[in-house]
């Protein structure tokens, strides 16, 4: 059965094509080798498969599916939540959180020990955003009419009813000042009328006085409207930018190494990339990460379930280390291992992720003949456990000895594919490795 299928894979870096139109099919329980001269693009193919590079063209299918992070409802919820947080933050900045605090909290709690009501604070906060004038109770049942942020006092009243009337008059006045209303002359006085021209709000002896009053309130009129507008714009813009940004970041990171590893493809690296300052055992345990469960709190408290799981994981890690021939070295730091052991540890770490396909990038590099024979056996055993192996290798002994199928890359293109016997005899392959004979 087909496990991995590369279909016309292309990887370009800028104008440089590293891999061109490579087709490959790896079946289950198969050892598939990719060989070719240096710079043929073998490691690039690996990097494209494991999600380190995004292919420029073509498809990579694993068990008939493109390996991408699935869209789930959590992602959508995350987008909305981030959008709301951004929008809310932007709106807070735009309404001046300082003044809002003053209007909602400080005005309702002027002296310590006063009763405080969250409902009243919420009401005042809403009024502040609306730009409604605020009523403050003073000592001796006097009331003050103030600007929404409580900074300017417009007038005082002797009772609540009177204060309400005063507020409504001021609001009409501000409304009028904000519109194009001009003072009109009535019975020898200059009168400011409300916006709908139904009642007199104030009257003055001189036209200049009336105009001055209108000018004074015009700034107040512009202020709340502008603030409302900018808060709304900030809120909406924040929501859009926040959720669109989250979506963009998410959708660009759908094909990451992590997703591919979790789908069942593990790999080793040509230039060994172990966790140098961790012990051998911890390296393997890190590979098991996806199989372990438990939240932060349970881990911090080391609840029995977590401990048991950890013990089982250690047990499995030791078995894996025994399998690759590193038994007894689990306490060493990875960086202190000899070279051949480091390669084996990388294989153990990759196996710990419980893959169905394992990608080995030049596992025999730097090994002596005895070690590479040992490695051959190990790769064979991995296949016997039911895994497929995709191998990049230069040691022909290793490649020819164990491969079921071989593909040859040269200058980024596949020049041959077949069983070891077929590839060995292919003239194109011989030409690529040894150079073609000149025709004279």
């Amino acid at each position: 059965m087909t496990l991995l299928k590369l279909n016309k894979l292309i990887v370009r870096f800028g104008g440089l094509t590293a891999v061109e139109d490579v087709d490959c099919v790896v079946r289950e329980r198969q050892i598939f080798s990719i060989i070719g001269p240096n710079g043929a693009g073998k490691t690039t193919v690996f990097n494209a498969i494991t999600g380190i590079y995004e292919p420029s063209g073509g498809t990579i299918e694993f068990r008939g599916q493109p390996l991408r992070r699935r869209l789930s409802w959590q992602v959508l919820v995350l987008c909305v939540v981030v959008g709301l947080i951004t929008g809310f933050g932007a709106a807070l900045v735009s309404v001046d959180v300082n003044a809002l605090w003053r209007a909602a909290i400080k005005r309702n709690y002027a002296r310590p020990g006063e009763p405080f009501s969250y409902a009243a604070a919420g009401h005042d906060a809403w009024n502040y955003m609306q730009g409604t004038l605020a009523l403050d109770r003073m000592r001796g049942n006097r009331w003050a009419v103030r600007t929404p942020d409580g900074r300017r006092t417009l007038g005082y009243a002797k009772s609540h009813d009177e204060a309400e009337q005063m507020r409504s008059r001021f609001e009409k006045l501000i409304d009028a000042a904000g519109s194009t209303t001009a003072p009109v002359e009535r019975d020898g006085k200059w009168v400011v009328r409300d916006r709908d021209d139904t009642e007199n709000l104030a009257s003055f002896e001189a036209e200049a006085d009336a105009r001055a009053v209108l000018d004074k309130y015009a700034t107040l009129a512009r202020d709340p409207a502008a603030r409302r507008r900018s808060a709304l714009v900030a809120l909406l813009l924040g929501i859009v930018v926040g959720s669109a940004g989250t979506w963009a970041v998410w959708s660009r990171a759908r094909r990451t190494p992590e997703v591919i590893s979790r789908a069942g493809i593990a790999r080793t690296f040509q230039n060994i990339r172990l966790f140098q300052n961790m012990t051998v055992l911890e390296n393997v345990l890190t590979g098991m990460d996806r199989g372990l469960r438990g939240g932060v709190i349970r881990m911090a408290l080391q609840l029995p379930g977590i401990r048991q799981q950890e013990r089982a994981a250690r047990e499995r890690a030791r078995r894996l280390l025994g399998f690759v021939g590193l038994a007894g070295k689990e306490r060493m730091l990875a960086k202190n291992l000899p070279y051949g052991d480091q390669r084996r540890l990388e294989i153990a770490r990759a196996l710990a992720t419980e893959p169905q396909l394992i990608l080995l990038d030049e596992p025999a590099a730097g090994m002596n003949p005895a070690e590479s024979i040992e490695l051959n056996r190990l790769i064979g055993q991995i296949r016997d456990q039911g895994l497929s192996v995709l191998l990049i290798e230069h040691h022909m002994k290793v490649v020819m000895g164990i491969s079921d199928r071989i593909a040859v890359l040269d200058y980024g293109a596949k020049i041959a594919e077949g069983t070891p016997e077929e590839v060995r005899k292919n003239p194109k392959v011989i030409a690529a490795y040894l150079g073609s004979e000149e025709v004279s």
Partner: protein, 373 residues
Amino acid sequence: MSPASRKRPPVELLYLAVLLAYPLLVYPEDALFRLTEISIGMQLTYIFIYAILALGLNVVVGFTGLLHLGIAAFFGIGAYITGILTVPAYPFQLGFLAALALSTAGAALLGVLLGAPTLRLRGDYLAIVTLGFGEVTRFTLRNLEEITAGTRGLNPVPAPSLPVAMTVPLHWLGIEPDWSLDYRLFYYLALGLLLLVVVLLRNLEHSRLGRAWVAIREDELAATCMGINAARVKLSAFALGCGLAGMAGCLYATTLTSTAGPDAFDFNRSIIMLCCIILGGLGSVRGTLLGVFLLIGFDNVVAPILDGLIQGADINPSGNPLLTFSNWKLMIFGLALILMMRFRPEGLIPSVQIEAEMTKDLPGPRGIRAEAR
């Protein structure tokens, strides 16, 4: 922790016993007070608080390898959240435990908000972002005059309330059940929280998450190829580190009975904390604690004692500034750091050694060979 490590009582228990006993033996505190005219016990309390802060920073910088230069901002955020939630000038007036939980959670949340968009940055770039955030936070705290009272800070932050059941055992130990009269209540509160944090962090360090943090520090690409979600793991480190900083901030404000001004949470404090964990050994809980005790202890405890001794011995009757030890503090501090970097760049107790030592106690090779056969 492995069962074998329980058998051999670690040397830390001895230190812990000394710290637990110090306030109960009244004599050393009194003698030191006569010498230095400051309460060394109170200074130790601050050291415990800074130790929590440094442990938080160590999670981000030491374990996960993300250079965070703005930890003081989260310390400040914790202090100010506590201030706003508890001072009598505001109507909330929550209890200490609620303030502690909310400060921790609030700082952690802000850490996530800062981290989520920036954790894709590597190395220096992340350092610059966190540095900038630290300064932005300081100026924000200063400019939100209505909320944070500007440069004056919020005060008085009330002391925690003692459960009634505690008064009898406290009386028994000779401790006054009044926070403002007896420093020992804060001392034990801070020490207790520090212990809790150390234990929880040790557990985390040896769990799946701790391994993922270190794996990301060691090689991020290899870690993601092993199926580790790097963004999520880094974010968890950020949240935990910043949350611990917020917790330390809450304790700080409560102990000081004030949030202090925004300038108490400046870049300097971040750098000192970074020095502490570098001196002690990046990525090692033990090293971090040692670093804090050495650096902050030198600053807050050793220097005043030496000042007191010089004063007491009548060496410096004319008040010559060159003969006041405190004036040499920064120079000695700088010199120590230079020497450290020259001779022991990995810190006094580097994590690698700890790992090697720790694994000595794991079931040894014999068990595995038996298994392999």
